[in-house]
C-alpha cells in the first residue's frame, strides 16, 4: 500500500498539489459503493470545504450527538490532516454509523451507489434542517438577534414563515425542475416546480448525455385515455407536458439508469450501453436563456455485468490530474482513459466498467450567485 502511495507521489513528482491528500479507503466487505461515492464527494471541493467549515464552526453543539454528518466531517478532516500525502484510511466510524442508521446498507450484499448517494445527501439535509430549526427556536426563546450560523439566509426575521430551508448542501446540489403542461385546446400553460439533488436519466445505446438529457425534457403528450383536466376549459383535453431545468444546480449529479427491470426476466438487468459523457457539458434545456456550462470532475464507475454483484470505483479530477480510486488503491490515469468508461457498443463485451454517476461542476461565470 505504501508502495502504491509512493508510486503515485513519484508519478506526480513536483506537480503534487500542495495541501492535497490522495488516500485510498479500506473496504469492509462490499463497501465499495460507499468508498467510490465518498471519494467523489471528497473531491467535490466546494462541498468538502463547506462541510469542514461548517464542522469546525459548529463543533461545540454537534459534539453532543454522532450522526452521518459528523461522521462524514470527521472522515474528511482525518484525510486532510494526514501528515503523509498518500496512503489508506479506514472509514470505520462512517460505515458503522451508516449501517446502524439504515438497514438497507446493513448487509454485506452489493449495494447501489446511487441509492447511497441519494440517502446520504438527504440525510445531511435533514440533519442541517433539524439543527437550524433547533437553533432558530433557541434564538427565538432568548429573543436574541444574533446571526444564525451555517450561513443560512434569514430574510424573514419573525421565523413563523415556514419556507423550505436552503442549507449549504442545497446550495451545492439542488436544482429546480419545472413541469410545464400546455392544454392543446386553450394553450394555457400550467407550470409546477420541483427540486432535485440529482437527475436520474434513461439511457439508450450509442447515445450521449446530451441526447439523454434532451429526451429527459422532451415533450410528452397526454391524450386518449390519459387526457389532462384543463381548469380553463373545465374539461379533459389533450395536453403537452415537458420537464425543463429552471435552476441548474452548482454541482450537477447525473445518474445513468443502467439497472433496468426487465419484466420478462422478472429481475433487473445491467445496461452496458455506450453513453458518451463529455468533459465539458452544456445544459440547453433550461428555462433561462443562457446555457449552463459544466465541467466533469468525478465519475462513479460500476464494474461488472450484473446489478447484484460487481464493484464500484471512481475517477476523480483533482488539480487537472485524473486519479483512479479503487478502494485502497489510488493511481494516476490519463484524461483520455476516461472515455474507456463510456460503455460498450456491443451487448456482450469484455469491458464491464461503465460510468454510473457523473459529477459536474458549474464553470460559467455570472452564475456564481
Amino acid at each position: 500500500m505504501g508502495a502504491a502511495g509512493s508510486k503515485l507521489e513519484k508519478a506526480l513528482g513536483d506537480q503534487f498539489p500542495e495541501g492535497e491528500r490522495y488516500f485510498g479507503l479500506e473496504n469492509f466487505g462490499n463497501t465499495c459503493y460507499c468508498n467510490s461515492v465518498l471519494q467523489a464527494l471528497y473531491f467535490c471541493v466546494p462541498f468538502r470545504e463547506q462541510l469542514l467549515e461548517y464542522y469546525s464552526s459548529n463543533k461545540s453543539f454537534t459534539d453532543a450527538e454522532e450522526n452521518l454528518l459528523t461522521c462524514l466531517a470527521d472522515l474528511f478532516t482525518q484525510i486532510t490532516s494526514q501528515k503523509k500525502k498518500t496512503g489508506v484510511i479506514a472509514p470505520k466510524r462512517f460505515v458503522q454509523r451508516l449501517k446502524k442508521q439504515n438497514e438497507i446498507f446493513r448487509s454485506y450484499m452489493h449495494q447501489d451507489a446511487h441509492e447511497f448517494l441519494n440517502y446520504l445527501l438527504n440525510e445531511l439535509v435533514d440533519i442541517l434542517e433539524k439543527e437550524s430549526r433547533a437553533v432558530k427556536s433557541d434564538l427565538e426563546s432568548s429573543s436574541s438577534s444574533e446571526q444564525i450560523p451555517n450561513g443560512l439566509n434569514t430574510s424573514h426575521t419573525n421565523g413563523h414563515i415556514k419556507e423550505p430551508l436552503v442549507t449549504w448542501v442545497h446550495k451545492n446540489f439542488q436544482g429546480i425542475l419545472t413541469n410545464e403542461t400546455r392544454c392543446l385546446r386553450c394553450e394555457t400553460v400550467t407550470a409546477r416546480d420541483e427540486t432535485f439533488l440529482d437527475l436520474s436519466i434513461d439511457i439508450e445505446q450509442n447515445s450521449s448525455i446530451t441526447s439523454c438529457l434532451k429526451n429527459f425534457s422532451s415533450t410528452e403528450t397526454l391524450n386518449a385515455e390519459d387526457k389532462f383536466f384543463c381548469d380553463k376549459c373545465c374539461s379533459l383535453q389533450e395536453a403537452q407536458k415537458r420537464m425543463k431545468i429552471k435552476k441548474p444546480p452548482q454541482i450537477l449529479v447525473i445518474h445513468l439508469k443502467r439497472f433496468k427491470y426487465i419484466e420478462q426476466l422478472g429481475r433487473y438487468k445491467k445496461l452496458s450501453y455506450r453513453v458518451v459523457f463529455p468533459l465539458e457539458l452544456k445544459l440547453t434545456n433550461t428555462v433561462e436563456d443562457t446555457d449552463a456550462e459544466y465541467s466533469l470532475f468525478a465519475v462513479v464507475v460500476h464494474v461488472g455485468s450484473g446489478p447484484n454483484h460487481g464493484h464500484y470505483v471512481s475517477l476523480v479530477k483533482s488539480h487537472n490530474h485524473w486519479l483512479f480510486f479503487d478502494d485502497e488503491n489510488v493511481e494516476m490515469i490519463d484524461e483520455s482513459a476516461v472515455q474507456t468508461f463510456f460503455g460498450s457498443a456491443q451487448e456482450y463485451s469484455s469491458n464491464t466498467d461503465h460510468g454510473y454517476i457523473l459529477f459536474y461542476e458549474r464553470v460559467d461565470v455570472g452564475s456564481a450567485s
Binding site: L184, C186, E187, T221
Partner: protein, 753 residues
C-alpha cells in the same frame, strides 16, 4: 334488557333501529358489480335562446333571393347548436339542436338543408337545418374527440371529419343518410323526430368520453366512410376545395397533409410550422392552402409546387381561425392574441381590424360582415369589406407582415401596437355567462357556482333551480360563509364542462343519502319518515316522462294508504297533479316539492341508451321512446322502488357514561342507527332507558338517585365536547370524532335543574 328491546320493537320507530350489532365485521358483499351506466342532468336557469358556453363554430347560410335573410348556425361548448334568423335589427334564435353530450367543436352546412356537427362526445351528427332541432343521423366512427369538419362548396354530398388520435374520415352524406333497412348493416344510427330508434349493433367497443359516460361506438358493416389513414397524431384542422377532391389536414404533427378525398390516399406532406396547426383553408381550386398555427404564423402553401410560398408573422400568439375573401387575395385571421387581422396575401400588408376580450376561435364571412366566435358565449358581427378590402388599406394604419415567427411579438413589445380599425361590432348575439367554478356544499343539496362574469349563485340541485343569486361577490368568502357542519354522503358528483352545472348520478352511490321528510318540509309523513335523495331526484327528473307513460303504468296498491296532497304540488306541475287526482299513481310516486323540477327552465338528461350510444334531451321532451333507453337501475328505483343494497346509511357507535358521571351503564355493546339520526334522539334513548331501568329495577335505593318523576336531563358528549341536539351521528363522526374507528358517545346527567 330483553324487555327494553321488546319495547323498542313495539314502538316501531327509529329507536328500534338502534339495535345491537355483532361486533364481528359485517358480511358485506365484496364482489364489485360491473360498471353501470350513468345518468347526468344538466341544469338551466334561463330560456333556451342563448348559449352558455364558448362558441366553437359558426356557419352562415346565405340565401340567393335578396329578400330572404341569412341564417347563422352556432355550435357551442354548452353541447348545443343554435340557428339564428338574421335581420336588420339583429338575430333571433329560431331553433336549438340538442343531442350532443359534450362540446360541439365544429359545424358545416351542406347543400342548404343539412347541418353536420361534430363533438367531443366522439360523434358526428347530421341535422335537418330548418327543423326544430331534428337529428337525422349519428355517425359513431370516431373513437376520440371529433375536432373539425370540412365540406365542399360545390359538392353537397361530401363531408370530412377529423379528430384526436389522428382519425380522418370522408363521408358521403347521402349514403350515410339512406334509411337503414337492415339494421345489422350500419355503423350509423337512424333517428327521426329527435328520438333515436334502437338499432341492432353487431359489435361494440367502449370509448370513454370526458364525462365518464362510456359510449359504444358502432362497428359498421354496411356504409363505411373513406378513412384517410396516416396521421400519427391528433388532427385539429381540415379544409376541402370547392369540388371536394382535395382534403388538407393539420394537427400536432406540425405538418399539413394533403389527401385525395375520393380515395383517402396521401398526396403530400408539407413541413414548416413549428407547432400545432389549428386552422386550414383551401382556395376554391385546391391549388393554394393557408394554414394558421400555434407557432403564431400564417403560411401560404402552393400545393402545385409542394412548398410554402409565404409566411406571415401577423399575430403575437397562436392563430386559431382563418377566413378569406372570395378571390383568395386577403385573409382574415384571429387567435389567442384576441385580435382580428386582415392581411393582403401578395403585398403582405396587414391591418388590425378589431380586438376582442376572449381568444378568437372561428370566423365566418357574411354578406357585408364577419362573424367572430370566441371562447365567450356571445358572438358578434363586425364590418369586413371583404368585397373590397383595398378600401380598408387606403385608410392607412397597416404594417408589413414579417416572415419570422414572433417578429410581431417583438414589434408590439417595442410599442408599435396598431390601432384597430373598428371599435364596436354592428351586431351582437348575447350569450349567458358560463359556469366556471363550483363547490358542492356539505348539505349535498346545494351547489355554489361562479360564472364567467363573476356572478355567484346557489343552486338547489334536487329541483334544479337557483335559490340565491349573490351577484358579483367573492366565491371563496361565500363558500366559507355557507359552511355548515353537517355530514351527508356524496351521492352525486358535478362538473361545469358545458358551462352549466352537470350533476352525475351513479349507482349505487347516488342512493347513499337520506334525509328526514320533516326536514324537507314534506308534510303528511311520519315524524321519522326518511326519504332517499337520489331516488326522489330521479323521480323528479322523470316526472314528465312518467306522466306521459301513465297509461302503461301498472298501479300498485298504496303502501300505507296516505292520501296524496295536492297542496304540495306547484301549479307548474299540472300534468302531474292530474295524475295524482286520478288516483292511479301510487303514493310512493308522488313528487315532493323539494324535488320538483322546473318546466320553464327544464334540465336536460344525458345518459347512454341501450344501443344508440349517449343522448341528451330536456326532461319535458322525454317520451315513451326513451323507455328502453334509461339505465335499468334508474327505472328499477323510480318505478319499482328497487334500490341497490346500501351500506352507508347506518352508523355504528358505542354509548358509554361520561367519565366520572354518576349515570348508570345502559349498554355495553355496539349500537347501530341511521347516519342521519339526531343527537336528541340519542338523548331520548338514554332517558327512556334510564326511566325504564329505574321503574323496573326497584333494588336501587340510593338516596341520591330517586326514582325519576321528571325525565332526567341528559346531554351527549363526544371527545369531551357537548353535542348540539340537532347534530346527526354522521356529522358528529365527521367533525367531532374524526376517527375511522367506531364512534363513541358519552352521556351524563346535566346538573342543576
Amino acid at each position: 334488557m330483553g324487555k327494553m328491546e321488546v319495547r323498542g320493537e313495539r314502538k316501531a320507530d327509529e329507536l328500534s333501529a338502534m339495535h345491537r350489532v355483532a361486533s364481528a365485521g359485517n358480511t358485506s358483499n365484496s364482489s364489485r358489480p360491473r360498471k353501470e351506466k350513468r345518468l347526468t342532468y344538466v341544469l338551466n336557469d334561463s330560456d333556451n335562446t342563448k348559449h352558455c358556453g364558448g362558441v366553437n363554430c359558426l356557419a352562415v347560410l346565405k340565401h340567393s333571393e335578396p329578400n330572404n335573410r341569412s341564417q347563422l348556425f352556432t355550435g357551442s361548448r354548452d353541447g348545443t347548436l343554435k340557428r339564428w334568423e338574421l335581420s336588420e335589427e339583429g338575430a333571433t334564435c329560431s331553433s336549438t339542436f340538442e343531442s350532443h353530450i359534450d362540446w360541439v367543436n365544429d359545424a358545416v352546412l351542406v347543400g342548404g338543408n343539412t347541418l353536420v356537427s361534430c363533438s367531443s362526445d366522439t360523434t358526428v351528427k347530421i341535422w335537418d337545418s330548418f327543423s326544430d332541432g331534428t337529428c337525422t343521423r349519428t355517425l359513431s366512427q370516431h373513437t376520440d374527440y371529433v375536432t373539425c369538419l370540412a365540406s365542399a362548396e360545390n359538392n353537397s354530398n361530401i363531408v370530412a371529419s377529423g379528430g384526436l388520435g389522428g382519425e380522418v374520415f370522408i363521408w358521403d352524406v347521402e349514403a350515410a343518410l339512406v334509411p337503414v333497412t337492415n339494421s345489422s348493416e350500419t355503423g350509423v344510427s337512424d333517428s327521426s323526430n329527435g328520438s333515436e330508434k334502437s338499432m341492432a349493433v353487431t359489435s361494440l367497443r367502449a370509448v370513454s368520453s370526458s364525462n365518464g359516460i362510456t359510449s359504444l361506438a358502432n362497428q359498421p358493416q354496411g356504409y363505411v366512410p373513406i378513412s384517410a389513414k396516416g396521421h400519427k397524431e391528433s388532427v385539429y384542422a381540415l379544409s376541402m376545395n370547392d369540388t371536394g377532391t382535395i382534403l388538407v389536414s393539420g394537427g400536432t404533427e406540425k405538418a399539413v397533409r394533403v389527401w385525395d378525398s375520393r380515395s383517402g390516399s396521401k398526396m403530400m406532406k408539407l413541413r414548416g410550422h413549428t407547432d400545432n396547426i389549428r386552422a386550414l383553408l383551401l382556395d376554391s381550386t385546391g391549388r393554394f392552402c393557408l394554414s394558421g398555427s400555434s407557432d403564431s404564423m400564417i403560411r401560404l402553401w402552393d400545393l402545385g409546387q409542394q412548398r410554402c410560398v409565404h409566411s406571415y408573422a401577423v399575430h403575437t400568439d397562436s392563430v386559431w381561425a382563418l377566413a378569406t375573401t372570395p378571390t383568395f387575395s386577403h385573409v382574415y385571421s384571429g387567435g389567442r392574441d384576441l385580435s382580428l387581422y386582415l392581411t393582403d396575401l401578395s403585398t403582405r400588408e396587414s391591418l388590425l381590424l378589431c380586438t376582442k376580450e376572449q381568444p378568437i376561435q372561428q370566423l365566418a364571412l357574411d354578406d357585408d360582415g364577419i362573424w367572430i366566435a370566441t371562447t365567450d358565449s356571445s358572438v358578434d358581427r363586425w364590418p369586413s369589406e371583404h368585397l373590397n378590402p383595398e378600401k380598408l388599406f387606403q385608410r392607412g394604419g397597416s404594417f408589413l407582415a414579417g416572415n419570422l415567427s414572433f417578429s410581431r411579438a417583438r414589434a408590439s413589445l417595442e410599442g408599435s401596437t396598431p390601432v384597430p380599425v373598428y371599435r364596436a361590432p354592428n351586431v351582437t348575439i348575447d350569450g349567458i355567462p358560463g359556469i366556471i367554478q363550483h363547490e358542492i356544499l356539505n348539505n349535498r343539496r346545494h351547489v355554489l357556482t361562479k360564472d364567467n362574469s363573476g356572478s355567484v349563485k346557489l343552486w338547489e340541485i334536487t329541483k334544479g333551480v337557483v335559490i340565491q343569486d349573490y351577484g358579483q361577490v367573492s366565491f371563496e368568502e361565500k363558500k366559507e360563509e355557507l359552511f355548515e357542519m353537517v355530514s351527508i354522503p356524496a351521492w352525486f358528483t358535478a362538473d361545469t364542462r358545458l358551462g352549466s352545472l352537470s350533476i352525475h348520478l351513479d349507482t349505487p352511490q347516488c342512493f347513499s343519502a337520506e334525509m328526514y321528510s320533516a326536514d324537507l318540509s314534506i308534510t303528511q309523513k311520519a315524524e321519522d319518515d326518511k326519504i332517499n335523495l337520489g331516488r326522489e331526484t330521479l323521480k323528479g327528473l322523470l316526472a314528465y316522462y312518467l306522466s306521459k307513460k301513465k297509461h302503461r303504468f301498472v298501479p300498485q296498491p298504496s303502501v300505507n294508504g296516505d292520501i296524496p296532497s295536492n297542496k304540495d304540488i306547484s301549479s307548474k306541475n299540472i300534468t302531474l297533479s292530474k295524475a295524482e287526482v286520478d288516483g292511479n299513481v301510487q303514493q310512493d310516486s308522488r313528487i315532493h316539492p323539494p324535488f320538483q323540477f322546473s318546466s320553464t327552465f327544464p334540465p336536460s338528461i344525458i345518459t347512454e341508451g341501450s344501443q344508440n350510444g349517449p343522448w341528451r334531451k330536456k326532461i319535458t321532451d322525454l317520451n315513451k321512446s326513451e323507455d328502453e333507453d334509461f339505465p335499468r337501475w334508474v327505472l328499477d328505483s323510480v318505478l319499482h322502488n328497487r334500490m341497490p343494497p346500501r351500506e352507508h346509511t347506518k352508523c355504528s357507535f358505542y354509548l358509554h357514561p361520561f367519565e366520572g358521571s354518576t349515570a348508570q351503564i345502559l349498554t355495553q355493546g355496539k349500537l347501530s342507527a341511521p347516519r342521519i339520526l339526531r343527537i336528541h334522539k340519542v338523548v331520548n334513548y338514554v332517558v327512556e332507558k334510564m326511566v325504564l331501568d329505574k321503574s323496573s329495577d326497584t333494588l336501587i335505593s340510593d338516596g341520591t338517585l330517586k326514582p325519576w318523576k321528571l325525565k332526567p336531563s341528559i346531554e351527549i358528549l363526544c371527545n369531551n365536547q357537548v353535542l348540539a341536539p340537532e347534530m346527526s351521528l354522521a356529522t358528529v363522526r365527521t367533525y367531532i370524532w374524526k376517527k375511522s374507528e367506531d364512534l363513541v358517545l358519552n352521556y351524563r346527567i346535566v346538573s342543576g335543574k
